[in-house]
Symmetry: none
Subunit: 403 residues, 2 copies
């Protein structure tokens, strides 16, 4: 089934909430040999899926492990294979930087170089955010322009930062300088194509990185930067244009806000405390048709390999559901951008469970919200990018196709 352009079918309809429990899916592990979601008590999700329907979503492609960007784009109805974006662009939008078309952003890691100039620590001892901010300020003060190209800097979190070049005729087809290993020097800024704009931008980057090394020479830990994911801001049609919805994001972590804003969502206040975040959604309830509510902690626990913590956070997210229901969404979906099994301590390719609650839902036999029960659900196993059209359909937002 090819991807369908729905723009000519969109009409007014009900409100939709997409509640993402990041990294929700798991595999069986632990003493009881169950997934985190099977182990968790989720009375609210179980109630919703009993009256609604369930299924499994495959974020990008069978067997392919999604990054956070592609994982979310699929849920927003954007085919991740068609809508690709570099990490730098995602970070730039996510931290609220005024990221303009034509700018080239890169994500930075502060790192520690030894005396031989080899990378000793790729994350500079995970320096705290406060320290990182000071080092970024030093860079921002010292390096503002190179070869007529403006250089902007912004701190992110811990050892991470953002660098943005602004000028005419820049290219973003540059390789990472992070060698992904210690004991070797940072990589040169290599180009991926033969265009003059790429070569020019690589030269700017080389000069900036050399200056940064001088500026940071006295730092005990963060004495160099590694650049990754050079990228421009993509030109994408927004959710209003494609799906006819005024969309808003409540996400306490910059990256998720970033990807949401790339598809035209407006940003609402967020804290990563789920009760407060639901209140943020409540305050803006009348102003939007579609709400993306992001819950981060499940993914973090999965990446930490902490089965019990993931169970705990799943239960915390479940407990927030009644407050979301009270707002009266016409369609409420709960799912994930990807699986993060604590047994794997990483994102994985496994499909994610999804529940869809709506008056127009066709009830299936599923009475528990978990990966195994959802495999028998009425929504079937399908690409994540099908969730958005399904939500629109259940909300009465798509007109009949053809006579």
């Amino acid at each position: 089934m090819a991807s369908m352009d729905l723009a000519h079918l969109v009409q007014d309809g009900g409100k939709i909430v997409l509640f993402v429990w990041d990294g929700l899916g798991g595999i069986q592990a632990g003493p009881n040999d169950v997934t985190e979601l099977q182990a968790a008590r989720t009375p609210n999700a179980d109630r919703l899926i009993t009256a609604g329907c369930g299924g499994l979503l495959e974020p990008v492609y069978p067997g392919v492990t999604p990054g956070s960007g592609p994982g979310h784009l699929g849920l927003f109805g954007y085919d991740p294979l068609e809508y690709q974006i570099g990490r730098g662009a995602l970070e730039a939008v996510g931290v609220g930087f005024d990221f303009r078309h034509g700018d080239v952003a890169a994500r930075l890691n502060f790192c520690t170089l030894d005396k031989a100039g080899h990378v000793a620590d790729r994350r500079a001892g995970r320096i705290p955010t406060e320290e990182s901010k000071q080092v970024v300020a030093k860079l921002a003060d010292a390096i503002r322009e190179v070869d007529g190209v403006e250089v902007h800097w912004a701190p992110v979190k811990e050892h991470r930062a953002l660098m943005v070049f602004r000028g005419e005729g820049l290219g973003d087809r540059l390789e990472d300088t992070d060698p992904q290993a210690t004991g070797v020097p940072p990589l040169d800024v290599r180009t991926r194509d033969g265009l003059a704009e790429t070569a020019r931008t690589a030269e700017v980057a080389r000069k900036v990185l050399a200056k940064a090394r001088d500026v940071l020479a006295d730092e005990p830990k963060a004495n160099m930067i590694l650049a990754r994911g050079f990228a421009k801001r993509p030109h994408w049609p927004g959710m209003k244009e494609r799906f006819g919805v005024r969309a808003a994001v409540v996400a306490g972590t910059p990256m998720y806000r970033g990807v949401a804003k790339l598809v035209g969502m407006e940003e609402l206040p967020a804290t990563n405390e789920v009760e407060k975040d639901v209140q943020s959604l409540a305050k803006a309830w009348d102003d939007y048709d579609f709400f993306f509510l992001h819950y981060k902690h499940t993914d973090k626990a999965g990446e930490d390999g902490d089965f019990d913590a993931k169970v705990h956070y799943i239960e915390e997210a479940d407990a927030a559901l009644p407050a979301v229901e009270q707002l009266g969404p016409d369609v409420l979906t709960v799912t994930a951008d990807h699986s993060t099994p604590s047994a794997m301590k990483a994102h994985s390719f496994h499909p994610v469970p999804v529940l869809l609650s709506a008056k127009t839902a066709r009830r299936d036999t599923v009475t528990e919200f978990n990966e195994v029960a959802c495999a028998a659900g009425g929504l079937g196993l399908r690409p994540s990018m099908h969730l958005m059209p399904l939500a629109l359909g259940h909300a009465g937002r798509l007109a009949k196709f053809g006579a």
Copy 2:
């Protein structure tokens, strides 16, 4: 999964019957909170699916509600997103009009204009077919040619009629004149592109509609026409060419015959009385490889919001199954073009249940023919356009692909 060209694989094989219970799928409703199909006693379909296999079909795209044309095209193995057709063309073929390539057809509604020229009733009080025929005859007598373009007229049913322009260099990129509202005048004939042939055809249409208003001025109810769905006959490869089958349609309602004939099916006598329609199929049994048998009443009951009537008609269709089985089809499939839940009184986007009965079927666990049971079926959840290749495969009509 991209659509596959099967033409080079086709070979002789068994006979296939596609029995469409129009609008079959539902959602839970009524005192027992079940779908119409769950409520109905369907001993024959249950027996067939127990020995065969079941699944769910998604007609056009997730969340998208199909019209009758796209819904059926999917079942015939034609991707509805690739094979699109205007309502006028569908109606022209459906009423048996000699609709030629180059002709432009429009579907007409008789309507009632008030003294101010505003639409008072978009359906002219749903005048009976007999009255409509007389009014159409009046138009056909008075308006035969405009600017060198032949104008043909045909009655359809109740307040509906057909208008066809025939001449060189006509275009069909014209908007509807039906304002879809009362208290406003009919819309002008607007064009969707800047081509000269479109502009010329719009001018012809304007003159025809102005003349029609004069001709109908004295009619008490049907004193004007509204035109919708201007369309030419599409150039499509037929089922013989694509799938190697001589195909026939038994459908008592013009629209379904129409769409079947667009893919090369030949028309057999039909009444919308299912027992007689099965006999029609029996009489032509030796002459075709593929039979499309259409059953309309289930959809009508769903659109009327009549749960009990839909249950009744499902049972009537089920009772007709033994007579179809007696013909000895190698593959018998029962499914629908789309769902029409009586709770929604309209077509819906919900997947439709399908059963496939064949000696070559792999039995699954499904023992009841309904939407919920079929979600666990061996055929899975898939696009409707996959049913035709599955039927061909089960009928031994597709050769091995590759060595």
